[in-house]
């Protein structure tokens, strides 16, 4: 069983219009899964992380309902069939 990554509307144009991306492989951490996402949809990852690979300050990533900022960040471990949800933080222009 792989994992599912849910994308907010603003990022779906960079994933061919998809609201979800399913990755069939097993991944140890959120960062591993996002690296795989980057290979498939680089435009999504450019907007989620900066060029150093750090999560942008106004983007939140949840794993099975928990914000990774309060876990181990991109090093947060993934379970079998985990769901990753990417959402913009409460901020805006």
């Amino acid at each position: 069983m792989g994992i599912t990554i849910a994308l907010p509307g603003a990022l779906q144009p960079y994933a061919g219009g998809s609201s979800e991306v399913t990755l069939a492989d097993r991944f140890g951490t959120v960062g591993d899964a996002l690296a795989a996402l980057a290979e498939r949809h680089g435009g999504v990852m450019d907007r989620v992380t900066d060029e150093r690979g750090a999560l942008r300050p106004h983007v939140n990533v949840f794993v099975d309902g928990e914000n990774v900022r309060f876990l181990d960040g991109l090093g947060t471990a993934l379970g079998e069939g985990s769901t990753i949800v990417i959402v913009p933080a409460v901020s805006g222009g």
Binding site: A10, G42, D46, E51, S91
Partner: protein, 371 residues
Amino acid sequence: MSPEARAGDVVLLVGTMKGAFLVWSNAARAEWRIEGPHFRGESVYALALDQRGGRRRMLAATRSMHWGAVIRASDDLGATWSEPDRQNVRFPEGSDDALGNIWQIRPGRASEPDVLYCGVEPAALFESRDGGESWSPVEGLLNHEHRKRWMPGAGGLCLHTILPDPADEARMAVAISTGGFYRTDDGGRSWRPRNAGVRAVFLPDPYPEFGQCVHKVVHHPSRPERLFLQNHWGLYRSDDWGDAWVDVANGVPSDFGFAIEVHPHDPDTVYIVPLDSDQFRCVPDARLRVYRTRDAGASWQPLETGLPQHDAYDTVLRDALAADRHDPAGIYFGTRGGKLYGSADDGESWREIADDLPPIVCVKAAVIGAA
């Protein structure tokens, strides 16, 4: 969008904290039409219209609070804009830096119509050699030994001024807040600080080799070696590409300010908008006045006809003052309070073009058909 734009029409490219606006008029510049916002909710600190080499390309630096900054392009005068899939301005792999914002887009020399530059935060210079499709850092400045000692000002550590020498492809200057004024004479391989005579009131040594908080530098292409510099306290001129600077704050109410622009047809005529002080960044005495010199800084005169002369607690930022190339020239500026003013007579008289835009951070003026 204005697909019906004709040669001689004027477009103001107005960048705000919540998007960009295109403000159109004809050569008379009596009536204006506001079109926008483009990039709703994104700040736009840099805009340009590149009319070299037969193209008519608008470029916009847009920054989403969530998703970062990119440069977008429009080849139909703003009717449609590119949506780059990838972050097209980025620090190289292994860098400690990440792009914060893009502060300046500068088309290069007429002799190099595919070359553009952009200045970013944290301070670095990027170059495009394909008309703005792709960008790469200018390594000579990126790896400069001073770079780690530059410090951010209130707006961030930004490279905001880019001055290619139109007569010499090896020479170019940039300005950084705070870092100072730097010049290359070898096509960007090496850069030397050129700040002799420019104050840094916030440092123990008020005249350091570098580290000044230069707010903006301008020159006229017909006399590129003559530079005018608005400093964080201080108004200066150089006649030798920055080798030496002299104080020209003669008769201004304050030598603090951000915005400075040169007249399109006279290298000795320059416009500024003085501010009260660094602690109170509003126009002096709550009177909105543009100051103009016609003698290269020997004297300055206020221009206030048509501008509010009481209760004007407003600010004009470093890139929010611009001139078109008509004769007489159109002079324009936008304020943090969202007001856009214009003059169609070299600054003698002014009128309000817009009064309720979001905070304005950038104003560029272009005449359609004039490269």
